[in-house]
Amino acid sequence: MSLRRSAARRRNLGIVALLVATVVFILPFLYILFMAVKTKQEAALFLFSWPGEWHLWQNLVDVVKTRNYMLLLAYFNSTIITVGAVTLLVIFGAMVGYVLQRRPSGWNKVIYACILIGLMVPPAIVPTIWVLQGLGLFKTIHGMILIQVAYGLAFSVLLYRSFISTIPRDLDEAAIIDGAKPWQVFFKVILPLLKPVTVTLIVVQSIAIFNDFTNPLYYLPGKENVTVQLTLFNFQSQFQSQYNLLFMNILLVTIPPLLVFIFFNRQIVSGMTSGAVKG
């Protein structure tokens, strides 16, 4: 009796929750989709309505062609920045996490202090521009990559450190006895074993860096350096009368995270909740 009642309750609660979630979370995305395929005149009405005509392809072509194919350049730049920064974050982060976990010393306190600073302190923006200018890295793609590395390191090191503690030291020692050099032990024995956490890190950091708006806004001005999030921002003022194209652009920047989410759901969840349970 009580079992049947609780089964009915789970069903009813589920149906109510689904209705609420549809209104709150799914309708805004449907709105983006509908606006993106409407004609210019229809989109200007802002209405939440089924599109009268589906101009999916036409709007896609129009938005890609805008400002001399700026969006393609933006995707290219964003991809280079994301791939470059994530690669360095994996290698640098794993190297620090490895030494931090394996070699107890007074230096570890310094490293932990840096991690805390990196997680908490907001970057000092204008002085960073000053440093970048001094190094000739301001307004350059490789400068942007290094900035993303500097800002993402604390999280990477923490993630790797906790995972490396689950890998037995016997493995390092066996390789050392076989005459492997330290860098060989790390790159040939340890790094391949870190694959699960590496995948998590790649997914989580890629999304964060691809979606980053503030840092390119400050450190990467200039038309030739435009990133995907900046095009959205630029088009916001340009497309005052063409909301269909603005929303097509939003749709285009929403699709990559959606694909990543569908294929790497598990890694995202483990990356985002790491440390949550231990506190």
Binding site: R10, R11, L13, G14, I15, L18, A21, F25, I26, P28, I32, F46, L47, F48, L88, F92, G93, M95, Y98, V99, R102, W107, G118, M120, V121, P122, A124, V126, P127, T128, W130, V131, L132, Q133, L146, A150, L153, P182, N211, F213, T214, Y218, L232, F233, Q236, Y243, L246, F247, N249, I250, V253, T254, P257, V260, F261, V269, G275, A276, V277, G279
Partner: protein
Amino acid sequence: MATRRSPYPYWFVLPAAVVFVTLFLVPTVASFWFSLTRWDLFDAEFIGWDNYRQFFKEPFLVQGLVNTLIYAVVTSGAKTVLGLLLAVLLTSGIWFQGFLRSVVFFPVLVSTIGVGIAFAALMHPTKGAINLALSWVGIDGPAWLSDPALALYSVAMIDIWKGVGLATLIYIAGLAAISPDYYEASRIDGATPWQQFWRVTVPLVRPATVTVVTLSLIGGLRSFDIIWATTRGGPGFASDVLASVIFKQYQAGFYGLATAGNVILFLLIAMIILPLTWWFNKREVDL
């Protein structure tokens, strides 16, 4: 006796250290000096505390500081409470549970600028879908983003919409770590679900609460892109926060003043997060 080389050499730390020190620590330390100067990126003229004095004298700069606090407390509080409630709901075995978890979490991964632009359209006072829906039930919807009294809270609502999924996810992981024995034992002792929630769930999910509160407070205090995408701090300065004030001063060429804003933001975060962390750790020992 020859000292054997450690198999874990310190040069492994070197590449990361060079990048972090050059592009993070050096600017942070330099910011304390430059905040005391009138600065055009080439020449810095020492002017003492003038930038800070101006920061606490100009009404719109002070408002930015107050707004930052309001925004951080509202978003962090709502994400913590809603996140816990959603996590309890989404671990209770209801229908569509897996799908609902994905739906709640997905906005976390979407571009903040994209979300901001979409909601700015949805919140349009006369044409927006939100006010049209409200008018069906006879409510005259407010000017969400253009009413000075409301703009900051409207932006906070968008932020909560986008970020509550992360809090929920962290709480779901926290709930999964609680042994079912506690619920079993309290049920045998005759505890109601209400009592179980307050006496078992809330105390035992504490590590997740610490993470959610800390992360969302830091995020809220530093928040910039969602505000910039929706109101740009407006109308007037009604929804300006420290991060948007810093950007405006930077754009206007007041680099010393912008850097002073940066230092104030840093101190504000430290003054809130460090005592909070200390308090959380102390309570942990008590338990």
